[in-house]
């Protein structure tokens, strides 16, 4: 049995705003066909939201469907459905959850049927599985597929040749497919306007994430962070609504910081920041609040996380640039977190531990995500060696409830927090 979750969950105003934005988006999706809107399925890392919006398309993200199914306790059933249909128990559960949801009628989080795609935009960025995932969806939907191959930063940086390769694909493959599917001509000025909006929102997101350098941190950059990245990482980047959301979020965080307050957790304001942590890896979605509570109950605040960089590493200085629209989109795709090589990822974690004055770092190793997980044990040793701070390691999964063992995770976390306390790194009251 799962532990009961507290019913009176406290939500920040920005969370409520975001909830309304998402609800409206799904209402728009449900009416897309009758309103003549084209629906584009795509992925979060390397997403080309501004380009899609410049063609008046509605983006839909299978990963987001999967994580929402996880939070709504539906993913286990969907995964079982996909496995019954012949999908291996070994592979990515996001894929199986999405396939299972499709097989069971493709009902979205609002209870309405999701529209079928007019175009599959396969942004092959930082995750091999994406390629297979959209080959699988293509089999089912028999719709056009546009493939954008984003090369990996194997040497720890991207090259002019890589940028040119992505731009060439945008010009020769992606934009022509959008033009064909929508019947609209590419409007670069419209794209520029959207990119300008994105840059403003990105500035505010970085401000919010970096507010965690304060003591106490006014945000939780992992559990809270997944809400903060929502609009920029999904369907809203480039829209005035996203810009407004981030302005509002920034004010909200500023107000908490000015009052010396910590982050808002599901149980309300965190009273005391006992441990400052850096976290690597995605969260578990099937027991999200229970997982968060295991940290909050111990006064553990995540001050920086790598998961909040999967849809863009804005805190490393990248901003979408209207002056170089296609090059800027290419550089965005190339810079997403899982497209960075392991030494760069180790450097990022090391810098986070130092810059955010963390007491330790934790890896949440996801069973079905090789892109994140392969090599994390080596990363842990490297970061421990470079920072002198203790590292913790837990294993869960994205949306497969079979791989979230609450008691095991809690035991490990408690041991980790005890170790932090014993090392005398507890923040003085």
């Amino acid at each position: 049995m799962n532990a009961p979750v507290k019913k009176n969950v406290v939500k920040e105003p920005s969370m409520l705003r975001q909830k309304e934005m998402i609800a409206q988006h799904f209402r728009d999706l449900a009416r897309a066909k009758e309103q003549g809107k084209k629906v584009v399925y795509t992925f979060v890392p390397g997403n080309l939201t501004e380009l899609m919006l410049s063609f008046d398309c509605l983006p839909l993200h299978p990963e987001i469907n999967a994580l929402q199914s996880g939070m709504r306790k539906l993913s286990g059933e969907y995964i079982a459905e996909a496995e019954r249909a012949g999908h291996s128990e070994d592979v990515c559960t996001y894929v199986k959850c999405d396939i299972g949801m499709m097989l069971k009628g493709n009902i979205g989080p609002t209870g309405e049927k999701l529209p079928e795609p007019d175009l599959l935009l396969l942004s092959y960025t930082g995750c091999f599985t994406f390629m297979k995932w959209f080959e699988l969806l293509r089999e089912r939907y028999k719709c056009p597929t546009a493939m954008l191959h984003v090369p990996y930063q194997g040497e720890g940086h991207f090259t002019e040749e890589q940028v040119q390769y992505v731009v060439d694909q945008l010009r020769s493959e992606i934009i022509p497919k959008f033009e064909k599917v929508t019947g609209q001509a590419f409007d670069i000025d419209r794209l520029r306007d959207l990119l300008g909006n994105s840059a403003r929102a990105e500035e505010d997101l970085v401000y919010v994430l970096e507010s965690a350098k304060k003591r106490p941190s006014p945000i939780d950059a992992y559990f809270g962070g997944v809400y903060y990245i929502g609009p920029l990482f999904t369907a809203f980047r480039g829209t005035p609504a996203a810009t407004e959301y981030y302005r509002m979020l920034r004010e909200e965080v500023d107000a908490r910081a000015a009052a010396g307050q910590g982050p808002i957790t599901p149980d309300g304001l965190l009273d005391e920041e006992r441990f400052r942590l850096v976290v690597e890896g995605p969260p578990n979605w099937t027991h999200f609040r229970e997982f968060w509570k295991m940290f909050a109950d111990e006064g553990a605040v995540v001050v920086a996380s790598t998961y909040t960089k999967v849809g863009g590493t804005y805190d490393r200085g990248f901003r979408h640039n209207p002056e170089r629209p296609l090059e800027s989109l290419a550089e965005y795709c190339l810079g997403c977190y899982t497209n960075l090589n392991m030494p760069t990822r180790v450097d990022m974690l090391t810098n986070y531990v130092k810059d955010y004055e963390a007491d330790g770092f934790l890896i949440n190793s996801i069973k079905s995500c090789n892109s994140f997980s392969a090599g994390q044990l080596v990363m842990m040793r490297q970061v421990e060696k470079r920072t002198g701070k203790p590292g913790g390691f837990i294993e869960t999964d994205l949306v497969d409830p079979r791989y979230f063992s609450a008691s095991n995770v809690k035991n490990r976390l408690e041991s980790f927090f005890q170790m932090l306390a014993q090392k005398g790194q507890e923040v003085p009251a």
Partner: protein
Amino acid sequence: MTTTETTPIEAWTRRVEDLVLDLDLSAVRAWKDAQPGRKAIGFLPTYVPRELIHAAGMLPVGVLGAGEELEIVRGDACFQSYICHLPRSVMELGLSGRLDVLDGMLFPSTCDVIRNLSGLWQLEFPDKFVRYVDVPQNFDPEVGGKFYERLLRELLGELCALSGKSPEEVDLAASVRIYNTNRARVSELYALRAEEPWRVPASEAYLALRAGMQLPPEEHTALLEEYLELARAAERPMQDNARVVIAGAFCEQPPLPLIRTLERAGCDLVDDDFMLVSRWLGPDVPETGDPLKALVDAYLAFGGEASCKYVPDGEDKGARLIASVREKHAEGVIFAAPSFCDPALLDRPMLQEALDEAGIAYTSFKYSENTGQLQPIREQAGTFADTIKLWGDQ
């Protein structure tokens, strides 16, 4: 009491098996020792252009894991239980010093695990040359072709810098010719196996192919020719086995006993996707014009399919596998994929659907390179072979 004399082909098999199972890479060490200053470059599956390494004056060495031959300790400390076996055995080989003989490593874009392994290699072996080879998934000559050409020119320059060979001395065209000859012998081996499988057991063909992961291509070609001659001359009884194609084993390799188990279960493996690097470009890369451009064009044009390669047109998914079944007159497909291999296991339902539509029988199992429990696989493969033999025409 009678003694059985070792036949020439048995002697060949023992010699090559010793070579292939030698985790200390003695053959590579011997090649390097034969001439001071020689260097060797390791590469992982699925495909790297070995011609570039060869043209730079170095020995390309396939690093395909440790099979069932090595106890994994340090490698297991690098990877969680749900990661496939290949990276842990490769890491074990590296950390135990067995790969010290290699002066560099190339990690091709096969999957996320091999991709991340490239970075781990940079962290664990900072003094070694390490490159990630990101082959294009866009096959337009003006887009993916241009990108790949730039990548190969840069890689060739880096390899020359490592070997100390001046770029002016490089005769890439000669390397292309040498590998073309090698690919032609490999094709001959596969053709003979498909025509007369009783003459070429899959385990021997596998050894013949795998020897090429350690030997210089010229020596490997000679070894293949020696084997082909022996196989054609050997007196072996024709057998009434089921003709099957193996799919899914393009990266982590099945242990040799598993291949022998499939044969003992009544399967003639008439085609497979083992060590695709040996066959990836097809038999003939053009030998005229710019040889580097020829390698690029051959890569873009090659219609081979593996789970690590994007299939731009959904209608083509599984077409290569079906063509292989038809061309080799196979009666079924065995999907043999390594546990936790995302590319192969995600591909499998699509390929199975294509086979269903084509009316081709198949069975599926998973393995790891150190699989020791072979009896269940023998029973499954035996049942599959029997089914084909009994009801294959229905």
